[in-house]
Every structure is written in structure tokens, then in C-alpha cells.
Symmetry: C2
Subunit: 195 residues, 2 copies
């Protein structure tokens, strides 16, 4: 998705060989027009799969997730990272380790909002180590629902999450795939040459 | 806003005289079409104020906030409730006590994304005790920016936040004002009679 790649090139800050900061349009400040285009692109890629819900994790997944849900004309559900006092009965939980924050979170959803008839599109801002995506897959399975696909805004292809998540057999679509952050520079994965 | 009031009447769950659960369309599951209409309504009410940014707090403010920002054609910034490892320099913070969760959070924004030339629309899902809104006002003031107005999805008018926040002199627009949750029933504030 060129609009996204251009934005990453223009505004992304490479903090180290593994950390890309995109706080100016995705993780802290959010570009609503870009989110809308991301939502449209996810909808385009997953439109024929009979999706009934979009599931993401708070907080950075919510903006792209709500736009994908809008375009697919289905509800969004966002998993919470901490328990809420008003979210108690019928709670499904999964443990997710965040390498960025160096802590384990329990993510949770209410079983009321994802059930066995649902075909769920998972959306997240980053795919790096894959722990968040695997946690979301686990929640959908616990709910007895089906994972229809996984939509990622930015995949760090040099980390092992993409491989781990694709090994589950689910379709993963990443709108920008980063091959390397070495030498302070963002290098995107080359598109495969067309024959 | 009748669409919102109807949704609250149909799907809101009154848990006590003070707690209204709207997890089916706002706080956990999110209705993207309703969020879009909420965004349009905020934009309509605040459109002539020269707004340059929308500011909200993770997580439930993000969906209505991003739609308001989309309609006003400005960026959204969401304040974080905890410090992130990749959000370090130039951080402005304010303390916010949550009566629902019975804990104090430090909310923070990067000074990079709100500056002295900004006119900021604050958006939040609920106005109850007013602590979150006062924290956001504090952040905008620390940034040297101006608060252009405060847009609230649901105001619990029987709690003192509305009075506290209006005493600051800023314009507050609440799309649904709840007068009472007594007897397990949502009673909206009556519109003032027209002369």
C-alpha cells in the first residue's frame, strides 16, 4: 500500500535495528484519512470471506480496526489489556507477552460479542513477534468462532511473528512489510517479480 | 442526538444508580456507523471554531475521536494512560483519578503533537466525575495550546463532572445527557422547552 509506505518513509523514526516509531500517524497521533484508506484496503482484501466481526486490541489497533469494520459493515470488538470492573461475566482471556513493553498482559473479550457463528477478521497495527496476533487467535478459538484472516498495518518481516502466525494456516495480509531497519533506514520487502 | 439515545435505550444496561454499561456499541464492541454519525455531529457542532487537533484518551475515546477528526479534517491525538518505552522525550503528563476503576492513572501526550498554535477539540466517551476531561484540559494548557471545546458522547448529568468542567468556561457539547439511572431505567435530560 503505497500511501502507507510513503508515510512510513516520510515520518517513521528508526530508533534501533528493531524499533520503528510511527507515533506521528498511527500510535499516538493518528491520521484519520490514512486510517480510512487502510480500512478500505483491508475491506478490499478480505471482502469475500463472509466476515461478521473485526477484532483488535486496545489501543493502537482501534483506529485502523474501526475503519475496517466500517468498510466491511460489521461491528468492531477491541480486546482489553486489563480487566475492567464492568466487564466480568463470560470473559475469555489469553496471555500476551509484549517485547516492546517487557511485560505480560492478559487480554480479554466478552464472550457475548464473539460467538460460534462469527467469522472474525483480526486487525492489528504491528506484526513483530506475533504474540498479540496469536493471543487474538486464541480468543477467537475459545469463543468457538472462526478466524477469517489477519490484517496487519505494518509487518516487521525480519522478526519471527510473520512466520509463526502464517504457520497457523490463516491468511495474513500486511499493508507494509519491512525487511530491515538497519543503518537507521527503512527497507521494504521487495514485491515478488511478476513473470 | 436521537440515534445515540435510541441505541442507549435499546442496548444500554443499567448496572446501578450510577453505572451504565454500553459495551455493545461503545466501550468494548463498537458500532462503526454510529461512531461515524457521532463524528459528523461533533464536527457539525464545533465546525466554526478553527479546530486543528482532536485530543482524546485511550481506549474508548479513540473510535468517536478518530471519526470526529476525520470529519473535521484534522489529526487525532490520543493520550496514553501509561508510559510507553517509545514515548519518552517531551512528554506532558497529568494525573486522573478513575472512580469506575478506583485507581489513579497518569495520562500523557507528546509535546510534539500539540503546540501553542493548536486549537484543540477534546473528545471522550463519558463525562461523569469530569476527572478525565480536566486532565485533558490540563495537558492542552501545558502544551500552550487552546481548548476550543469539549465533545462528550454520554454525559451522566446527575454526577458533578458536567458542572465542574463547564465552570472552566469551555463549551461542552454532550450528545446524550442522562438525568438519572434510578430504578434500573435510563432517563434522559429533557430538552429545554422552546418559548
Amino acid at each position: 500500500m503505497n500511501l502507507l509506505k510513503n508515510k512510513i518513509e516520510d515520518e517513521g523514526v528508526v530508533l534501533s535495528d528493531t524499533v520503528l516509531k510511527v507515533d506521528s500517524f498511527l500510535n499516538h497521533q493518528v491520521d484519520p484519512e490514512l486510517m480510512m484508506e487502510i480500512g478500505k484496503e483491508f475491506a478490499r482484501r478480505f471482502k469475500d470471506l463472509g466476515i461478521t466481526k473485526v477484532l483488535t486490541i486496545e489501543s493502537s489497533g482501534i483506529a485502523p480496526g474501526v475503519m475496517a469494520a466500517l468498510q466491511l459493515n460489521v461491528p468492531l470488538v477491541f480486546a482489553r489489556k486489563r480487566k475492567s470492573l464492568t466487564l466480568s461475566e463470560g470473559v475469555l482471556t489469553s496471555k500476551v507477552y509484549s517485547f516492546t513493553k517487557q511485560e505480560e498482559n492478559t487480554i480479554s473479550i466478552s464472550s457475548k460479542y464473539i460467538g460460534e457463528n462469527d467469522r472474525v477478521l483480526l486487525v492489528d497495527d504491528f506484526l513483530a513477534n506475533g504474540q498479540a496476533a496469536l493471543g487474538l487467535i486464541d480468543l477467537v478459538k475459545q469463543a468457538g468462532a472462526n478466524v477469517a484472516g489477519i490484517g496487519i498495518v505494518i509487518e516487521k518481516s525480519f522478526q519471527d511473528g510473520g512466520k509463526l502466525v502464517r504457520e497457523t494456516g490463516y491468511r495474513v495480509e500486511s499493508l507494509a512489510e519491512i525487511q530491515s531497519l538497519e543503518n537507521g533506514k527503512v527497507t521494504f520487502k521487495q514485491e515478488e517479480a511478476r513473470v
